[in-house]
């Protein structure tokens, strides 16, 4: 049964061949290190099949995701990586957010530092997140796009399939793509850089319930240049 502990389920994606480090908790105070009460890691392939279930030491500050998941990712492709954490709300009055470091091995492209997507829990009412957060938005920079962009989306539910609608905007032109995801399944929805001569300006993700999602940008050679979660606001 439930306890007084808070709960957060956060998620990212992992592909083989990348250095990928994730903080279990972002430490803000050198004099007072804080830690979760417990944390488990799950990894799922694109069809939602479990490929790893591992209890982590909550005292561990930095997790080497690549060391744990490169081998299953080589065999099964991109993995949805889920962190299932319990924490004392007195220690974390704010959501125990955490960050990741991502860098393709042997790449000259700078590494990416990103916020891990807090998908379930983290008491959004207490942290003042009042907007609907199953509708999310990402605005692209106002400069020509190079390479390929996509929205990586995963369904963290246990039982319920989800229809995720990815809506991309090209000036006034709107393009909708809907994907159905089984529980724990995930996919990437590619975004055309231009449609009808208009440049991609914005993308939205809509679903009945909140999904794990990131906007992903890759150079022509596949090197990651963007890995960022969407935001729950509309401009």
């Amino acid at each position: 049964m439930s306890s007084d502990l808070g709960a957060l389920m956060s998620a990212t994606f992992h592909e083989a061949g990348h250095a990928h480090l994730v903080e279990l908790v972002h430490q803000k105070d050198r004099a007072a290190r804080r830690q979760l009460a417990s944390v488990r890691l799950f990894a799922y392939d694109q069809d939602g099949c479990p490929r790893l279930d591992q209890t982590l030491d909550p005292g561990q500050e930095i997790l080497d995701v690549a060391a744990l998941l490169d081998e299953p990712a080589r065999r099964h492709g991109r993995l949805l990586v889920v962190f299932d954490a319990r924490y004392d709300p007195r220690i974390f009055p704010y959501r125990p957010h955490h960050y990741g470091y991502l860098h393709r091995q042997d790449s000259a492209v700078p590494p990416l530092y990103y916020a891990v997507n807090a998908t379930l829990g983290g008491v959004p009412d207490r942290i003042g997140a009042v907007a609907l957060n199953n509708f999310e938005t990402y605005l692209f920079l106002d400069r020509p796009m190079t390479g390929h962009h996509a929205v990586a989306v995963g369904n963290l539910s246990r039982f319920a399939p989800a229809d995720a609608e990815v809506v991309s905007y090209y000036e006034g032109v709107r393009h909708v793509e809907t994907v159905r995801l089984a529980p724990k399944a995930h996919t990437e929805v590619k975004l055309e850089p231009e449609r009808d001569g208009h440049r991609l300006r914005r993308v939205e993700l809509k679903a009945l319930f909140r999904m794990a999602s990131y906007v992903v940008g890759r150079r022509a050679g596949g090197e990651l240049v963007l890995f960022d979660h969407l935001f729950t606001y509309f401009k």
Binding site: M1, S2, S3, L5, G6, A7, L8, M9, D84, T119, L120, G121, G122, V123, P124, D125, L132, N133, N134, L156, S157, R158, F159, A160, P161, A162, L208, F209, R210
Partner: protein, 66 residues
């Protein structure tokens, strides 16, 4: 035992915002007392559990919101 909802899940978390477990949901539905006190916002905050909540309420014979 309720068909369609494995009791082995009882200790697992359903709603990460209100920290409602599957077992608490089962007990509340069996007692005709859904939603229990302080769990009224289950499924309505981050919304991430909304699909599972509706699935479980149907499995437990309780109608969810339209």
């Amino acid at each position: 035992m309720t068909p369609g909802l494995d009791p082995a899940l009882d200790a697992e978390m359903l709603c990460y915002c209100t920290t409602l477990t599957f077992g608490e949901l089962r007990a509340a539905c069996a007692a005709g007392a859904w939603p229990p006190a302080n769990k009224e916002r289950t499924g309505k905050l981050c919304t991430g559990c909304q699909g599972d909540l509706q699935y479980c309420l149907r499995a437990l014979g309780v109608r969810g919101p339209a």
